[in-house]
Symmetry: C2
């Protein structure tokens, strides 16, 4: 993916990288920093759909609607590289295995979105926040080498509130409860998981296990 991406571009925290309401001609590969796709409601509230980490490809759902409903926001200073849409077309014809992998990744994000939807519908805010922390650690720990409990987490309390669908006032309260219960610590944008088991129990979810698909096409041989 990196071989077909454009030159790196830097953005500051809070900047809208890709705005909604337009037909898109390109995707963005997130190289460094945290981003998120955001939706603004008709009454001006913001909601963050998901957290994107380095390696994620941003802007895929915008391909399917005439005017995309989500924007992409930088949650920290970020570096992105643009991927033009023609490369996607060529990937489907020339690199079926890559295309299938991309398809698989987007299905995984959809599965995550299903979990978030269920939580939003049926779980209270404390459970949702615990789940957010659990899933964040699961995604970050592998890339940080050994299993670590410390995460450099650039999210503000407002960001977390927008992620789990509550107000920042209420987030502050339940975050204090998780801290008081000895489950997590959060200072200076450093998130520490103090009690992983307890946090899983509070979240009421199972650890995330990606599939090991046997159905992908083989790599196309050069000839």
């Amino acid at each position: 993916m990196r071989s077909i991406a454009g030159p790196p571009k830097r953005y500051r925290r809070g900047v809208i990288i890709r705005s909604d309401g337009r037909q898109v001609q390109s995707l963005d590969l997130l190289v460094e920093g945290w981003a998120s796709s955001a939706v603004w409601t008709s009454d001006g509230q913001r909601h963050l759909i998901s957290v994107n980490l380095p390696g994620d490809l941003l802007g895929l759902p915008a391909l399917a609607t005439a005017d995309s409903l989500d924007s992409v926001v930088a949650l920290s200073p970020v570096v992105i590289r643009e991927v033009r849409i023609e490369h996607l077309t060529r990937m489907f014809t020339d690199q079926p295995r890559l295309a299938a992998l991309l398809f698989l990744i987007s299905q995984e994000e959809r599965a995550q979105s299903m979990e978030r939807l269920t939580l939003m519908a049926r779980a209270n805010a404390k459970t949702r926040l615990a789940t957010l922390f659990v899933r964040l650690q699961e995604r970050i720990a592998p890339s940080a080498g050994s299993a670590t409990n410390c995460i450099a987490c650039p999210l503000t309390q407002q960001d977390m509130a927008d992620l789990i669908g509550i107000t920042s006032v209420h987030l502050n309260t339940i975050l204090a409860e998780l801290k008081a219960a000895g489950l997590v610590a959060l200072d200076q944008r450093i998130l520490t998981i103090l009690d992983g088991q307890g946090l899983l129990a509070a979240a009421g979810v199972s650890p995330w296990r990606p599939a090991t698909p046997g159905w992908l096409p083989e790599i196309k041989q050069l000839h």
Copy 2:
């Protein structure tokens, strides 16, 4: 898609067509009736992720996780045809345009899921119910020929409640409010949109417009 699907199978309303927690070997093409992917929370509550109508391919997100978190439930009597997963592999190598179309469809479902997520996080139950009705009509009207305001809707109030994440008790109340406001009528499983404009206003959403993508690969020529 129909050419590679297995023989039709019938299921009665309420039956779980595809259960969660297993690695999947096949997909299901919904031929007739309404279905839905359902998630059960750890405390036994049900949540319905989305409504599936005839033509939809069920079970895609289950490809991406080792144990799929959703089941597929029949919301009415349904007819489905099985699609084995090898056909998906072959599609990616032999039919890039079809594969890209499938990719596009799944992105559209993801965009819909983003909207639902935002609503769940930020809108109250009345708004969510109005949106459900709006989106249902948008999907059903085209296939029913001319723009009709009458929809044969097999959903029970419990189903609708599970779709928008409230209890059936509360759903009953807000449904009565929408009826009292003259926006919809619902009797004998027939949903009638009495005031489309008013319903759109109550929902606070724009009409859904699918993309007209220019980036799909061409049909592979026979040679």
